[in-house]
């Protein structure tokens, strides 16, 4: 062996460096760490012809900027003079981007050669690459190569020998001509010392100075006098150096590849469906329609569980009969039937909806539709401080707030997730839409349409104000961004994984929600239960005691209790006022609330006789904008994992619902 040559393998991650290194060195390699760093250091050796070669596999990095440990290590190794020749690897299948490392190397005076690796992949893509023309333009050896093909290494060794013998560096004349057009480049270059960093030319250093490279700037500060450093700072001020030099490098790459790379150009045209989704006018309606159809479709898989929930609720009567005949006390019967059976029936029905929504929207996500939804609504959501994908929970909340809360799982940022749920609560749910039209038409006849329109406008105002109030603490300015998106291709869903996910999610929801609902139900039941025929339930005593206060909001005590009951489930509010106004058993009010509103047949007459129009308006607004239900409360906690924020949102909605009731009540007094 006459001499020893050291070669350094340089390339971006996934350029095939490790494959090449392993193939060259075989077992003659050792792995350690670069001094003072946790970055892996791989060195080895091989023999070819009469020469022995040491190989250093430099850490993979995008470029030679000092943005990471990997890049600094690579630069230091080249500057150390240990490498006789640098082998730069580029991915042939995407030369326009992978030659960036070569462009960033331009100006380094250590001889090099270029390996256009993964030639087999490029050929399979139909790309034709003229490596000879590329080599001619680069001024150094360049070959088409496949590191995977161990029988095809001869061209590599030839290029290596050529690089070692001729010691050529990259022809940078064309690149430098582009650099010279950048403001301040020539002035900075003139001030660059020749030997600031060994192996790096003034051209390379001047470009890195304009790019605000911290290592180069520190070197300049330590080497040059203060006046010169100040001059350099002045020249690079106001210049977007990284962008300017980056543009020059890409232009140089395009010049190198012009006529040397023949490929089928990827079309920038959108597919048919994406043309609709991204259309300025039709995009939003198309997305809203898709989500609404998804919502409707989610009822189909929800039906079995909803049916099971209803069937479970039907157990109340036979269980009551069986327990009564067995001599069980009324108190125990009421706990079992009203709290446990009724609550579980309610939970199963809601769970059906969660299952359906998670399945349908999980499917839309897997297929690639949710990415389009996020894209289309980004700008609108941005005005509320949210991301585009927040629109999905809002739309789902028109059906069920719990589904909306569950839908926030697509939001990655915790603060935005909490804010989205906080705003989704303002959207009247399906249960509210069952109550609002009925009460509105009862009290206001054809004016009900106007009431509904005002409710929708109030919803938008509520969301805007809520975003302002909560947004400050939850969403930082830097959390917002103008979105750039690479839309994924549409593809078939993986049904097995999707179903496992949906079932896991449903089970998890069931466990968590059951705990909360049973607890709340038990408390509500206790305060509304008549323990003896002549005793007055706590609910009544409290209700009449607080009536002077509730009247401020336009709610008498019965309406206020119905308002409280609507926190458990909005559809139950009608059942509560029916029971309370008819003066029946107060315990029955809760039972009816949980059953979904067993409305007395004469409710219309009762309400019209006992409730004024301003009071009715106040009540409609109060229950519409009250917290949606305890299940939504549980779902909110499940999603955000913060009891503090769950409580904050619940208290906020309770108070704002009462405030809105007070406002519309007093407006109503002026109108009616």
């Amino acid at each position: 062996m006459s001499e020893k040559v050291t070669i350094a393998l340089l390339g971006q991650p996934n350029s095939g460096k490790s494959t090449l290194f392993n193939a060259l060195t075989g077992l003659r390699q050792h792995v350690g760490n670069w001094p003072g760093k946790t970055v892996e250091k791989k060195e080895g050796s091989f023999t070819y012809g009469s020469k022995e070669y040491d190989v250093a596999d430099l850490p993979g990095s995008y470029s030679l900027s000092a943005n990471s440990d990997e890049e600094v290590i690579t630069r230091d190794f080249i500057a150390s003079g240990n490498a006789d020749v640098v082998c730069i690897l580029a991915d042939s299948s995407q030369l326009e981007r992978s030659l960036f490392m070569v462009a960033d190397y331009a100006g380094i005076t250590v001889p090099c050669f270029v390996i256009l690796n993964m030639a087999d992949v490029a050929a399979a893509q139909g790309k034709k690459i003229d490596a000879g023309l590329i080599a001619q333009r680069l001024g150094v050896p360049a070959i088409l190569f496949s590191a995977n093909d161990k029988k095809g290494y001869e061209p590599f060794y030839k290029a290596l020998e050529q690089a070692v013998n001729k010691k050529k560096t990259l022809d940078v004349s064309s690149l430098e001509a582009s650099y010279e057009k950048i403001e301040g480049y020539q002035k900075v270059k003139k001030l660059m010392p020749e030997d600031l960093i060994p192996g790096y030319s003034p051209m390379w250093l001047a470009a890195k100075t304009l790019e605000n490279d911290p290592v180069v700037l520190a070197k300049l500060k330590n080497t040059l006098d203060a006046e010169t450093v100040s001059k350099i700072d002045g020249y690079r001020k106001g210049v977007q150096g990284a962008v300017e030099t980056g543009s020059a490098k890409f232009a140089w790459i395009d010049e190198i590849l012009s006529g040397a790379l023949i490929e089928k150009k990827e079309s920038a045209a959108l597919g048919k469906l994406d043309r609709i989704y991204t259309h300025k006018v039709w995009g939003k309606p198309a997305v809203v329609l898709t989500i609404l159809l998804g919502l409707i479709a989610s009822f189909i898989p929800a039906l079995p569980l909803m049916g099971f929930g209803k069937a479970f609720g039907m157990l109340k009567e036979p269980v009551t009969a069986a327990l009564t005949s067995a001599g069980c006390p009324d108190f125990i019967i009421s706990i079992i039937c009203t709290v446990f059976i009724q609550s579980l029936s309610y939970i199963f029905q809601m769970l059906g909806f969660v299952f359906g929504v998670t399945l349908v929207f999980g499917l839309l996500e897997e297929v690639g539709v949710m990415a389009r939804v996020s894209y289309v609504f980004d700008n609108t959501m941005g005005k509320l401080g949210l991301q585009g994908k927040s629109v999905m929970p809002f739309l789902v909340s028109f059906g069920c707030t719990m589904g909306g809360a569950a839908g926030t799982r697509v939001i990655d940022n915790w603060g935005q997730k909490v804010l989205t749920i906080a705003l989704a609560w303002a959207v009247p749910c399906g249960a509210a839409w069952a109550v609002i039209p009925m009460l509105s038409s009862l009290f206001f006849g054809p004016g009900a349409v106007l009431v509904i329109v005002v409710i929708l406008l109030t919803m938008l105002l509520h969301m805007w104000i809520t975003a302002k109030i909560f947004g400050r603490g939850l969403v930082k300015e830097e959390d917002r961004y103008g979105m750039i998106m690479e839309l994924p291709p549409y593809h078939k869903p993986k049904w097995g994984a999707l179903l496992r996910y949906v079932l896991g999610r449903t089970k998890d929801t069931f466990v968590r929600v059951t705990k909360v609902v049973l607890l709340v139900c038990a408390i509500f039941w206790l305060i509304s239960y008549s323990f003896s025929a002549d005793s007055v339930p706590i609910l009544y005593r409290i209700g009449t005691a607080i009536e002077p206060v509730t009247k401020l909001f336009g709610l008498n005590w019965q309406l206020f209790v119905a308002f409280v009951a609507s926190s458990v489930g909005k559809e139950g509010a009608l059942g509560v006022i029916s029971a309370l106004f008819t003066g029946g058993n107060f315990a029955g009010a809760f039972n009816q609330a949980m059953s979904g509103g067993g409305v007395a047949s004469n409710l219309n007459e009762i309400l019209l006789a006992n409730v004024t129009k301003p009071e009715a308006l106040a009540f409609i607004f109060a229950i519409t904008f009250n917290m949606p239900c305890v299940v939504a409360l549980a779902a909110t906690y499940q999603e955000i994992h913060s009891a503090k924020w769950t409580a904050k949102i619940a208290v906020y909605y309770t108070l704002t619902a009462l405030l809105l009731a007070a406002v519309v009540y007093h407006i109503g007094l002026l109108i009616f």
Binding site: L270, R409, G415, G482, L487
Partner: protein
């Protein structure tokens, strides 16, 4: 590249295909420039996984750490571990790539 940056900074959401169309270039050209801008720290890739916790910090969070193993997180579709205490199984599927402009 300056034209691309100006488009990115105007606050409107765009896809890479739209950027390519507006700048009369190819999607591959846009992608390599986005990669460059990302590496230069001018734009930032948005994480669509459970990795980004509340407040961006895991301090004081009991859900992180070696105790969390794949499958522990409810609904984790990819079987990856993450921060169970902050975001439950928020692993997104097929959402494409997203970036934000940093400066």
């Amino acid at each position: 590249m300056n034209e691309l940056l100006n488009l990115l900074k105007d606050g409107h959401a765009r896809t890479t295909l739209m950027l390519a169309s507006e700048l009369h270039t190819t999607p591959a050209d846009i992608r390599r420039k986005l990669e460059f801008l990302e590496n230069a720290g001018i734009i930032k890739r948005i994480s669509l996984t459970a990795a980004s916790c509340g407040g961006g910090s895991c301090s004081g969070c009991t859900g992180c750490g070696p105790g969390v193993s794949p499958g522990d997180i409810p609904g984790d579709r990819k079987g990856k571990s993450g921060c169970a205490g902050c975001i439950p199984g928020a692993e997104l599927m097929n959402m494409g790539e997203m970036w934000e402009v940093v400066r």
